[in-house]
């Protein structure tokens, strides 16, 4: 079996886990939830295996490099980080509700990688600009940041849904974690994401300085990562210093994740230096 086949199976495993999390939530049953956790663990293990296998395959092709060099590989890694961070949260807080949004996000990332006609799953050799030890540090830290923001986004959505539906007693939303827990969780994910986004931007700047001769060139991807940083910096200040909470923060977290998504995908439609992230 090659890595592409394995990762296709992983895609469907994430889909199954997502389905079971949703079933468990809608029908308020524990059993599907418990199975969902195990399926999610299997998906993450398979995802890990897929990444490792792809790494080995690249060495067999004689062009060995970490599988973090193009859109396909970054999406697969994105799914992996979402999966891992989510499972840690589930374990820590003993609550499966976030899985209802986190596993579909992981599924969508990896499904987009496998199914989009614009994204090639071929293992390609590294272009000269990417041949650097900073590649792994830069990509890994950025994607841990992105994944934490993705989960914060999921929690914020849950928060807003719950706000909208409080009142109807039979709704799905009554056995969600209480508002303060959701708020706190969003905040924790945002701080985790912010730290890693900061490190990601910094490793990128140091790398740029050793490859292009300047640590900051205002290239669209750099600028959008900074825009994202500004949005989350605003969120942190608004919460800590001005006491924002609840809905306002949830909206800011959603706007922040839009900026993340634009940094990741949208920038490819703009001209700039980061063109290798495209296909």
């Amino acid at each position: 079996m090659n890595s592409s086949n394995l990762l296709s199976i992983v895609t469907f495993t994430y889909a199954l886990a997502a389905f079971l999390y949703i079933v468990s939530w809608v029908f308020k049953k524990q059993l599907p939830g418990r199975i969902a956790t195990w399926i999610a663990i299997i998906a993450v293990i398979g995802n890990t295996g897929g990444i490792a296998l792809r790494w080995i395959e690249s060495y067999r092709l004689g062009i060995g490099h970490a599988p973090l060099s193009n859109m396909y590989e970054s999406l697969v890694f994105f799914a992996w980080t979402i999966g891992v961070i989510y499972l840690v949260i589930e374990r820590t807080y003993q609550n499966r509700i976030i899985g209802v949004l986190a596993t579909p996000l992981a599924f969508m990332a990896i499904a987009y990688a496998s199914l989009s006609p614009n994204i090639s799953d071929r293992i390609q050799p590294l272009i000269p600009a990417l041949k650097s030890n900073w590649l792994i540090a830069h990509v890994v830290t950025c994607f841990i940041g992105y994944a934490a923001f993705a989960i914060a986004f999921g929690i914020s959505l849950i928060y807003l849904l719950k706000r909208k539906k409080t009142g109807d007693k039979d709704g799905f939303f009554n056995h969600l974690p209480d508002f303060s827990t959701l708020d706190e969780l969003t905040h924790q994910m945002v701080t985790l994401g912010f730290l890693f986004l900061t490190i990601g931007i910094i490793t990128g700047a140091v790398w740029a300085n050793s490859a292009w001769g300047s640590y900051w060139s205002w290239d669209p991807k750099e600028t959008w990562s900074l825009i994202t940083w500004f949005v989350y910096a605003t969120l942190l200040h608004a919460r800590m210093m001005r006491g924002w909470e609840g809905k306002k923060l949830a909206y800011l977290s959603i706007i922040g994740f839009m900026a993340v998504m634009f940094t990741y995908f949208g920038v490819n439609f703009l001209p700039g230096l980061h063109s290798y992230g495209q296909g």
Binding site: P128, S132, L195, T198, V206, G213, F230
Partner: protein, 454 residues
């Protein structure tokens, strides 16, 4: 309004304005929103390109606001300046208050507050308070730096805390932001960024600046000894390599290869591999094919050298070379151009694309001329920069990461373990608080209570 009171109140109001987090939020969001513009409108293009795209009217409006180099415009720099002043004023204002909190000798603990916590843990132990004291104090000391024991009405109380200093974390982050801005400023005032193309074998001592296009002298010479490209089997480039020699007063002092991601640094100046190109070749081997007899004749010529052709075919000269040649909308790639002058007739232009040897047959002349081979000569394109601010920026980077970690993941935690006599037994209450990660503190308190009740 009285003029004097107005001016007296002005500094105070200004201070208040810059000390507000509301201003921070507004400036951060303004930076975020305005930054988008420069990612949509390409920056630092030639004026003609903009005129073409936006027309005269919008070109004038946009360039009045420096939109085409917006990250260096006065208004963007002004936003950054406001942010810096805001960060500094906020930090000064809050830091003095924080200083008193951080460096307090005897932290104040209010036991009634701890008793009021809803998530405190309580249990009963059969041992006496005195026995428990001996067991509890070491357990608490293990994970809390500061501890104090106080007598209460019917027992005693252990207060402990740690991480009081972590409150300065956010000021470390603020300091790092200021360092980044200072480093950037140093770089833009005392540094430069330019480029230079050096043909193989040639030496240069000045470069062209990227922003102004002016020449910048280096205090030394750079010679390009060699340039080479390696390709993968797929045809994609795998490595660009230049062999460079640094010369001081004509004497070579250093020879080194540079590749992308591995620049040469010399006397504070960084030299990066960033580009390359092909130079017009010197020696070309041409193939003259007689289309009537089918005979081929190969001949080596230099660019611009006129030769007499055999069989009284006339004279031929290679006039020029281009890296790309547009032919009816198609790019023919690397192409030589020549002029064929028959003995009795007018001169004819001959186009000889390297990739299409049969191209000249379309001319339907007696001779079909093609390029058999030529020597490939390259020039290397180097980016040359000097930035004395990098060290400041890098220290800002390190401090920012440390500061963020302290701010987000370390907290000021306070713990209170109260032991009171209740009949023969002891009643124990464990309560605690943290300024961050309150959920984490809750589970920590549970764990400590579990440890103590063993």
């Amino acid at each position: 309004m009285n003029k004097e009171t107005g001016s007296a109140g002005f500094p105070g109001r200004l201070w208040k304005l810059f000390a507000s987090v509301r201003l921070t939020v507004i400036v951060l969001l303004s930076l975020a929103v305005t930054s988008i513009v420069g990612t949509i409108i390409p920056q630092n293009q030639r004026p003609e390109a903009y005129l073409n795209e936006y027309g005269e009217f919008f070109y004038r409006i946009l360039s009045a606001f420096d939109i085409f180099d917006m990250y260096h415009s006065w208004w963007f720099q002004f936003l950054l300046l406001i942010l810096s002043v805001n960060v500094i004023v906020c930090s000064i204002k809050r830091f003095s208050a924080l200083w008193k909190i951080v460096f307090v000798k005897n932290p104040f603990f209010d036991i009634s507050k701890f008793r009021d916590f809803s998530d405190k843990e309580e249990f009963v132990d059969t041992r006496s308070p005195e026995d428990l004291k001996r067991i509890y104090v070491p357990i608490v000391s293990r994970s809390f730096g500061y501890r104090r024991i106080e007598e209460t009405d019917n027992g005693f109380c252990v207060f402990a805390e740690k991480g009081r200093w972590t409150g300065i974390g956010v000021y470390i982050v603020h300091l790092s932001v200021i360092l980044l801005l200072i480093g950037g400023l140093i770089g833009s005032v005392f540094g430069f960024k330019g480029f230079v193309n050096i043909p193989e074998g040639k030496t240069i001592n000045s470069i062209r600046l990227s922003n102004t296009g002016k020449a910048q002298d280096l205090n030394f010479d750079i010679r390009c000894d060699d340039f080479s490209i390696k390709f993968y089997d797929s045809g994609a480039p795998s490595e660009y390599r230049s062999t460079l020699t640094i010369l001081e007063q004509g004497k070579s002092v250093l020879t080194r290869d540079i590749i992308v991601n591995d620049p040469l640094r010399y006397k504070g100046i960084n030299i990066f591999q960033s580009n390359y190109g092909e130079l017009p070749p010197k020696d070309i081997t041409l193939n003259f094919k007689n289309r009537i007899t089918g005979m081929s004749n190969k001949q080596k010529v230099s660019l611009g050298q006129q030769i007499n052709l055999s069989e009284d075919m006339g004279q031929f000269v290679v006039k020029g070379y281009r890296n790309s040649y547009d032919f009816g909308g198609h790019n023919l790639g690397k192409t030589f151009m020549g002029i064929l002058t028959p003995d009795n007739g007018s001169p004819v232009h001959v186009i000889m694309p390297v990739r299409f040897p049969v191209f000249d047959r379309m001319r339907k002349g007696k001779l079909a001329i093609s390029v058999e081979d030529y020597d490939r000569r390259y020039y290397t394109g180097l980016q040359v920069t000097r930035d004395p601010g990098v060290l400041v920026v890098y220290s800002g980077f390190v401090i920012m990461i440390i500061g963020c970690f302290i701010t987000f993941f370390m907290s000021h935690q306070r713990l209170c373990v109260e032991i009171s006599k209740s009949g023969k037994n002891s009643r124990i209450m464990v309560a605690g608080t943290a300024n961050k990660n309150k959920l984490g503190m809750q589970s920590r308190i549970k764990k400590i209570a579990k440890n103590l009740s063993k």
